[in-house]
Symmetry: none
DNA sequence: TCACGAAATGAAAGATATTTTCGTCCCGGG
DNA sequence: CCCGGGACGAAAATATCTTTCATTTCGTGA
């Protein structure tokens, strides 16, 4: 038996029976009857806990099952592998698959007593979801229009308070780096005061997740009435802010809860929109943007120390 | 089981590097810059074709990459494994995951003439990737330690300049909302001036993707020497900033290019880490944090108009 | 440009792990 | 009671991995 299998493998190269990828448990069941007692013990241990066995050497597994190295190797052969080394590799693969298969089950909310590893997984999953949703729901026509307006703007004002204020600043930083005149306002009074200066050809962008933040709506309204092109980045396309927006860019809203306030997931979507705006504008104004980007990079170089390579 | 091993590693006082399950590609990217040429060749081969490399012995991989066995082992060590044997095992696992996961790699870069819809898709995909990599590569032991320090801190200072400055502010905003004393510094002089005030029991957090930003390292160093608990959030775990960090939280680095500067992808990972810190602290101090969160929400209510439902 | 020292690298020795060999032991039948 | 056949494990043989150390390479400063 064993010899036959071996010879087939040897002569034909290996194509006839590629070693089991994930069907190992089945194989164990199938072959168990034709195994000797000690080999059954080994096979059982392997099928029972692939991950654990993958961490063991031949000697380790032999001891665990109360058998000898030779028996372990024989079992590996019977299961269709050239030797224990390869069985072990397959085992590691199997373990990884099982591991990853369980992953998507983390759709539950974050609880107060969740271990930190779960918190990381859940937050990452949620933010990924937010990105996917936002990307899927983004109106590319509106986006393109906003990009066009930005690329040709004499001046751009961005309004945002609280968490959205940081997004506004992020957009501003980026636009400045490619040579556009942009300014972020988080002070509502100054925002309005400045909005009065805007006129046709300028751009005003309001960032608010709820779409109801008065401190942000007000300057946008002023800009709108002054004839500037206005853009709203909001999670609520039917909210008040859109009244004064020529272009509305919608961000997705993930579930929120006590431990996961709005600021967290909305910010992720907003930043994606901001990045899209930036890249879009950089594309349109590439000839000017590319050198500007390099220049700003080099200007900062001396602020960084050389990285030490060694330990 | 892999988890068991990992946890044992973590709790047993082997903090440096718990083996990576699937975060290998991320780890390669993170560590590649600090590798020597030959080691980079090995790492690249490994990241490029996990399945193929898993089938090779040390000697085989050495020949394939035109290096020596010693170099291969060194690379395995750098990636966080005890030796090549274990790297190989992880590789087999990774290969199995990829196989089952059918990873649809839209690895193309953003081009100047990409239509806007492609830009959105690529950016979203990239940021999702960054999130996944960062989550996978985050050392939960370090994270838990940082959370503990934050939860019990008398005062917390956060340093960050440029794009990281916004992340620092984001963290600060969040911590303030649950009643912690936190302050973000983007002015290097003031940061150092304030760092001098720190003492044991306080926490200082430096956020820098490159890990080489002097303006951020300096205040962290001062805080470190004053006896404060120091945390570094960086994409380069071997960079200078980690010299003065009690706890290092590593963010993943996605590919970057002309139209996609470092600030964009690094920020995504940094924000995930910040969110994890926040939720972790909120969990620990739940009794105080929950009412504080509600209170801050209600205090803002009058700043929002009612949402109009109709057209 | 050259010399110097530190880091990188590979050849080979040394240590482990795996595979093979071979003899013992156990079991059922004559 | 003795014998044949296979299961089984100890230990030798081999393959693989790890460490050591001398050599080479590279960057640095004079």
């Amino acid at each position: 038996m064993t010899n036959d299998v071996k010879e087939i493998f040897g002569s034909a190269g290996a194509p006839p029976a590629p070693p089991a990828p994930a069907a190992l448990a089945a194989k164990v069941r199938t072959l168990a009857p034709s195994m000797t007692r000690s080999m059954q013990r080994v096979a059982e241990a392997v099928a029972d806990d692939p991950a654990g066995c993958a961490a063991l050497t031949v000697t380790g597994l032999a001891e665990l099952t109360g058998t000898s190295e030779a028996t372990v190797v024989r079992t590996a052969r019977l299961l269709g592998y050239p030797g224990y080394r390869d069985l072990r590799l397959a085992l590691a693969g199997l373990a990884a698959q099982q591991q990853s298969g369980r992953a998507p089950a983390i759709t539950t909310d974050i609880a107060v007593d969740d271990p930190i590893a779960d918190v990381v997984a859940k937050l990452a999953y949620d933010e990924q979801q937010t990105l996917a949703d936002t990307a899927a729901g983004l109106d590319t026509v509106q986006l393109a229009a906003a990009v066009t307006a930005l690329a040709g703007a004499r001046r751009t004002d961005v309004y945002g308070v609280g968490a959205s204020g940081l997004v506004a600043q992020d957009l501003t930083q980026k636009l400045l780096r490619i040579g556009l005149m942009a300014h972020a306002h988080s002070d509502p009074h100054l925002a309005v005061t400045n909005a009065v200066q805007l006129r046709s050809g300028d751009v005003a962008i309001a960032i608010t997740h709820s779409g109801t933040t008065g401190d942000v709506i007000e300057p946008l309204r002023v800009a709108f009435e002054r004839g500037a092109t206005t853009v709203a980045v909001t999670g609520r396309p039917d909210s008040p802010v859109t009244q004064y927006a020529d272009h509305v860019l919608t961000t997705s809203t993930a579930r929120e809860s006590e431990l996961r306030p709005a600021a967290m997931s909305s910010r992720t979507g907003q930043l994606l929109v901001v990045d899209c705006l930036f890249v879009g504008v950089a594309q349109r104004t590439y000839d000017a943007a590319a050198p500007a980007l390099s220049a700003s990079y080099e200007a900062l170089a001396h602020r960084h120390r050389a990285v030490r390579k060694g330990p």
